[in-house]
């Protein structure tokens, strides 16, 4: 009888193992499924336009001529603006939060983390109704006319509150909590003796941050930047409202354009036939971009874990 009980338990244990492992394989299966479905559905677009699709700037629904370059370059431009702001900002905010006394640093860290809890549609709405008018009335006139940046190429003197710069600013605010959180970890990871030694020979706290912590945790910081990059690449709602939604190559910071995600959101519901296939192809491109960014982030952050493990 005891033997019987044992057998039953063993059977249950085997079932438990199979069940949990099956569930563990689901994300891998989903990732492969994404690639297969997106690839299969975008075949028509690639057959029609060939790989010229990637570099064509046309977007003409009447003649059914489509190119991906405006959306791709818009995506890259907003991402670059967002990261250009959020990465240094994340670094110095993390620096402050780690060095600040507990009673100040803790609530402020929590407040920053709350930025990540606000849904992206709220960012979009805020961008459309609050930030865009402020950009139009104060910030863009200041940048273009007062600082005379409007004369520079690629900035432009025409502004209406919308466009790449506004979208980039909102994205920067959205990815800031993610970048800042990883950077705080990186700062805390730097061995105490290393930092204390630097203080001991008379370094200022900025020198400790830039010469010791930054170099020690460089890979972790790059990982943080890639995490932010991945978030910014595919963000839809926050960008959709302020980007303008025109399928043209970006010609200036204040100009309107589109991103891959915004193109999908704007057109997918009404699309069929070739256009739908084109949109799937854009989705595939976005997936591959995001995959490579995530792979890079994992590479950097995994090495960081290994370093932490040695400690």
């Amino acid at each position: 009888m005891f033997e019987l009980f044992r057998k039953k338990e063993n059977l249950r244990d085997r079932a438990f193992m199979i069940l949990t492992l099956l569930c563990a394989f689901l994300p891998l299966a989903a990732a492969v499924g994404f690639l297969i479905l997106l690839g299969g559905n975008s075949a028509e677009a690639f057959r029609t336009f060939g790989f010229g699709f990637l570099v064509s700037t046309q977007w003409d629904p009447v003649q059914e001529l489509y190119g991906a370059l405006p959306a791709i370059s818009g995506t890259l431009l907003t991402t670059v603006i967002a990261l250009g702001i959020a990465a240094p900002l994340g670094f110095i905010t993390a620096l402050f939060l780690v060095n600040a006394p507990e009673w100040l640093g803790h609530p402020l860290s929590q407040a920053l983390d709350l930025l990540a809890a606000i849904p992206s549609i709220i960012y979009g709405m805020w961008g459309l109704f609050v930030l865009a008018p402020v950009m139009q009335d104060y910030i863009q006139p200041f940048l273009a006319d007062t600082l005379r940046l409007g004369k520079l190429p690629f900035v432009g003197e025409d502004y209406n509150g919308f466009g790449f710069l506004t979208a980039g600013l909102i994205l920067a605010l959205m990815v800031l909590p993610y970048i800042c959180a990883v950077m705080r970890d990186v700062f805390r990871m730097t061995p105490g003796p290393l930092r204390e030694a630097a203080y001991g020979i008379g370094c200022t706290s900025w020198e400790v941050a830039s010469d010791i912590v930054l170099r020690y945790g460089l890979r972790g910081i790059l990982g943080a930047v890639f995490i932010g990059l991945g978030r910014a690449l595919g963000e839809t709602m926050a960008v959709l409202f302020v980007i303008g939604g025109i399928a043209e190559l970006p010609d200036s910071l204040f100009g309107s354009g589109t991103t891959i995600a915004a193109t999908l959101a704007n057109n997918f519901n009404e699309a069929d036939g070739l256009l739908r296939s084109v949109l799937f192809a854009l989705g595939l491109i976005l997936m591959l971009l995001s995959l490579s960014v995530q792979a890079a982030a994992q590479l950097y952050l995994r090495n960081m874990d290994r370093k932490r493990g040695e400690k």
Binding site: T93, L112, I122, S205, M237, F241
Partner: protein, 290 residues
């Protein structure tokens, strides 16, 4: 060598000045970020709080201009969609996390799975919508609330799985091993001993993931879409939900009344999610201190 020379040549005054400037900059950076957060919250509260009322909460949405306009159907739809996503996603993701934590250490397959979990976590959420569209909407021929739930479940899955694995790995191996030594099977040991010791943190992590997913809009655009009806045909028809309602009311509607309704809905969703977030963090912190 060159760097030491460089250090000697830097005058102390300049170094202290740079330090002070950088300290000021970093304080300003924090202030700016917190200010923006408060600015967003304040805009939502100022524009949205006044709209909230009984009609707003309990009446269904209607075309602009009609009386008794509300978002009751969208609230109910969001609850349906989110709860179903939790039912589909969370148990399986929990099981997956347990499996990965116990059988997937130091194995090549385990690392591959871990990599794919991280990739899926960073995947743009709109792609989940596109994927479910191709998988479910094209094959069944109609958009539905259930399709929306499925896309949210896909987003929820890797987050919950990763949280579960991280939490289980935080439990000392000795706890697991000593229960095995007492003759427990692995399944029993994990579920009754290991997971019991972390159930608070696990619940917090999972609820935080659910809170983040509940506000997602992009994956619902092509799947659940949106409608003025009450969500009684959840499995077969487009289903009302708050995020897409906000999207519709702000972008596709010129009328001020609709914008105000959109802000009201934004207020509801933001305040609910923030309060949930704060409460969870508070509870979690209390536990740690005790």
């Amino acid at each position: 060598m060159r760097e030491t020379d460089d250090c000697i040549r830097r005058p102390v005054f300049f170094r202290k000045l740079l330090n002070a400037v950088m300290w000021l900059l970093s304080a300003a950076g924090v202030a700016l970020a917190v200010f923006c957060m408060l600015w967003i919250l304040w805009s939502v509260i100022r524009n949205g709080a006044g709209v909230i009322g009984l009609d707003f909460l309990f009446c269904g949405s209607k075309p602009p201009g009609e009386p008794d306009n509300g978002v009751g159907n969208a609230i109910l739809g969001t609850v349906f969609i989110t709860l179903t996503a939790v039912v589909i996603g969370v148990p399986a993701a929990f099981a997956g996390g347990v499996g990965l934590a116990i059988y997937g250490q130091n194995s090549r397959i385990g690392n591959l799975i871990r990599f794919s979990v991280n990739v899926m976590m960073g995947l743009p959420s709109i792609l989940a919508g596109v994927f479910v569209y191709a998988l479910l909407v094209v094959t069944t021929g109609h958009r539905s609330g259930f399709a929306g739930s499925l896309s949210l479940a896909i987003i929820l899955f890797p987050v919950v799985m990763r949280t579960t694995e991280d939490m289980i790995l935080m439990v000392p191996a000795a706890v697991h091993e000593s229960s095995l030594a007492l003759g427990m099977t692995r399944a029993r040991s994990v579920l009754c001993i290991v997971c019991r010791s972390i159930k608070g943190g696990l619940a917090t992590g999972i609820l935080l993931a659910v809170a983040r997913t509940a506000g997602e809009t992009a994956p619902l655009l092509f799947t659940a879409l949106w409608s003025d009806a009450w969500p009684w045909h959840y499995f077969t028809q487009p289903t009302a939900n708050l995020p897409v309602l906000i999207n519709e009311y702000t972008t596709n509607s010129p009328s001020e009344e609709m914008h105000a309704m959109g802000w009201g809905a934004a207020f509801l969703i933001t305040i609910t999610l923030l309060l949930m977030n704060l409460a969870l963090r508070f509870i979690c912190r209390e536990k740690k201190h005790a």
